[in-house]
């Protein structure tokens, strides 16, 4: 395209992408330095309505304040079904529907503060349930529908799920078999249930017949609204808790980072089973009062380009895996489409490689704006902005209100800030922003370990250049990132260990050109079991059935022995270094080597 932003330099991917001085649509964050200098979180809170006496509820900010004003008749949700069907709900209609769900919870005896889990694909009922549960003062916990029974059971046990909203097929395949492990689960609501049966309620019975009279629990800003599970290197998944006032960050980043304007049609491709799809596929766009497009189908290039064109998407938030799949298809694939409404593109999930940023600029006439955040941060923390030049490969600069630094941990548990540019260290954020996690569920000590003094330590290694742009370097731990999803090696190892033939397992991430990383397992067998193709397939099938395709390993390799420390800990780092042909590093703790 001819109006691509100007790229000045010889080497394409090293070149800074400069922005036009006066774009047709003036960015919300036009003067980064000035806004940053004058920023206050109190002023950011004042962008929302709030409740009387200082209350705050995410659903109120997402729906009520629009539904009671001139935006009442605007489309809040535009849903495109798998079978080609479409549904549109206005802000007023989505408000009514969420009130019905809140009444249904009350009728079932569900109390504020209890946890409502959602496990569905991207169906309309999911959005209604999430917003209705916020209204009822319940805590929402989303689960990814591609999880197998084991990750689902683990999270529902840890989270003491009281209510589950799911579909008949997912219930039958993934939940029915684990239900006896969940004595606290009192109600299952099937979105497509025909009638109440099998200890399950049907949506049409309990929700659609509930009154739509206005109802809202007056939550406080610090009341817990969200539980998001994320993966660590060791132990079970961590349950990050977020308060209702996380919505201050969601709204602010919708405005400043995604640059949402009043008339925008917004599409976040992330699934609400993960934190991006919750924060930016539901909450942020609705608080900004725009039209939020929801696509039930999985990725397919032609479908996606069709959605961008036909729905007249103006702001698009997607992920590196999808962008790389589009790149493979080439620029020719765009020739049949007209993206004249598209104004801003952003990406998150893992670092977006510079080639993909540059490709976006050539193919769409605008770069993908990469940004960085974590489940624990609750919202976007570091970003590339509409008004600022983009350095391809960089995660950008901190959100106004966020102080980020590169630090080095000291032996006494404190940290030193590394002020010198381009030095690698751990990325840290000064604590105290509204969407910062409030705790790890039942693991307060683990939560405390994330902080050193005033700094939240992210576990990501990064550097900051002389212009203030941050660059991702790598993870400080063994967590695997595949297709934008964090996978804890321990969870995968545990599932494989349950197989009677398995003696020990080490799980690592290996590079994948599209997904970033893919999961690989090294397995040593118990005496009496010999490596064979049949056993390899049996283990692969076992892991996939338990964990689901999104978490299970893609390849399994047999070893006679895995490298271990004196205390018997498997050295994943060494397995990975050898797999990738990298230096083996410090081997002083190695006691029993790989065979």
């Amino acid at each position: 395209m001819s109006d691509a932003n100007d790229v000045r330099a010889s080497s394409k991917t090293d070149a800074v992408i400069h922005k036009q001085a006066s774009p047709a649509c003036p960015p919300n964050l036009a003067d980064y330095d000035a806004v940053r200098a004058g920023f206050s979180w109190d002023a950011a809170r004042a962008r929302l309505d709030g409740l009387p006496d200082g209350g705050l509820n995410i659903a109120y900010e997402a729906l009520d304040r629009h539904a009671r004003g001139p935006r009442a008749g605007r489309t809040a949700l535009r849903w495109l079904g798998l079978d080609g069907s479409r549904r549109a709900l206005t802000y007023a209609e989505l408000l009514s529907a969420s009130c019905r769900f809140a009444h249904a919870l009350a009728t079932l005896g569900v109390q504020p503060g209890e946890r409502v889990f959602v496990l569905t694909g991207r169906v309309v009922e999911l959005y209604v349930a999430v917003l209705g549960a916020f209204r009822a003062g319940c805590t929402v916990c989303p689960l990814f529908s591609a999880f197998g029974p084991e990750p689902i059971a683990t999270r529902m046990e840890l989270g003491d799920a009281r209510v589950l909203v799911t579909t008949s097929a997912l219930y039958r395949r993934k939940v029915a078999g684990i239900r006896e492990r969940l004595p606290g689960l009192r109600h299952v609501i099937l979105t497509d249930g025909k009638g109440d049966e099998d200890d399950c309620h049907a949506w049409r019975e309990v929700v659609e017949r509930a009154p739509d009279a206005y109802t809202l629990v007056a939550t406080r800003p610090e009341d817990i609204a969200l539980l998001h599970f994320t993966s660590g290197t060791t132990g079970r998944p961590k349950g990050a808790l977020h308060a209702h006032q996380a919505v201050v960050t969601h709204h602010l980043t919708g405005h400043y980072v995604l640059d949402l304007h009043d008339e925008d049609v917004f599409w976040c491709t992330a699934d609400p089973g993960w934190v991006t799809g919750m924060s930016y596929g539901i909450i942020a766009p609705l608080t900004c009062g725009v039209t939020n497009v929801v696509v039930e189908a999985e990725f397919d290039a032609a479908t996606w380009y069709g959605v961008l064109e036909q729905e007249q998407v103006s702001v698009w938030y997607t992920a590196p895996t999808a962008i790389r799949m589009l790149m493979k298809l080439g620029q020719e694939a765009l020739a049949d489409y007209d993206f004249k409404h598209l104004r801003f593109m952003a990406s998150v999930g893992e670092p977006l490689n510079p080639e993909a940023v540059v490709w976006g600029n050539e193919a769409f006439g605008m770069p993908f704006h990469d940004n960085w955040w974590q489940t624990e941060t609750g919202g976007i923390m570091i970003a590339n902005y509409a008004a600022l030049d983009v350095k391809p490969g960089s995660m950008g600069r901190p959100l106004p209100g966020i102080e980020a630094a590169i630090v080095a941990r000291r032996e006494d548990g404190g940290v030193d800030v590394i002020a010198e540019p381009d030095r690698e260290g751990e990325l840290a954020l000064k604590k105290g922003w509204p969407s910062m996690m409030r705790d790890y569920l039942n693991e307060h000590e683990r939560y405390e370990r994330c902080f050193a003094g005033d700094w939240y330590l992210t576990g990501d290694l990064a550097r900051q250049d002389a212009d203030g742009y941050f660059w991702f370097v790598g993870r400080a731990d063994d967590v695997i990132k595949s297709a934008g999803h964090l996978i804890g090696p321990f969870e995968v190892e545990s599932a494989l260990m349950e197989h009677p033939a398995v003696a020990e397992v080490g799980v690592i991430g290996i590079p994948d050109p599209v997904a970033g990383e893919q999961v690989k397992a090294f397995v040593a067998l118990k005496p009496g079991h010999e490596p064979s193709l049949e056993l390899n397939r049996a283990l692969l099938g076992h892991a996939r059935k338990r964990l689901g395709a999104a978490v299970a390993p893609k390849t399994i390799e047999f070893r006679t022995n895995l490298p271990k420390t004196r205390s018997g800990k498997i050295m994943r780092r060494l397995l990975k270094a050898r797999e990738l042909g990298l230096p083996e590093g410090d081997l002083s703790t190695l006691e029993s080597d790989e065979q």
């Binding site: 591609a146 099938g541 996939r544 999104a550 893609k554």
Partner: protein, 79 residues
């Protein structure tokens, strides 16, 4: 390629990608990705394996034609 032949070829290839998959329970017109819980990487691996076994070139733009067994059968027959 007949749907029966396609079905047995896909079953053979899935043994390495998703050994737990019960292909018998999937109708010819059903989307394999949903019916068998295949993620995008699994599907990509399946397409690559199909290409290697049949020699048929499958450009990425054609992937949607391979979402069902019926679609694969038709595609491999004409390809």
């Amino acid at each position: 390629m007949s749907t029966t032949a396609t079905r047995s070829l896909v079953a053979e290839l899935l043994a390495d990608i998703a050994p737990e998959a019960e292909l018998d329970s999937v109708a010819d017109g059903e989307d394999l990705r949903q019916a068998l819980d295949l993620d995008s990487m699994d599907f990509l691996n399946l397409v690559v394996a199909l290409h290697e076994r049949t020699g048929v070139d499958i450009p990425e733009a054609d992937y949607p034609r391979l979402f069902t067994l019926a679609g694969m059968s038709e595609y491999l027959g004409t390809g």
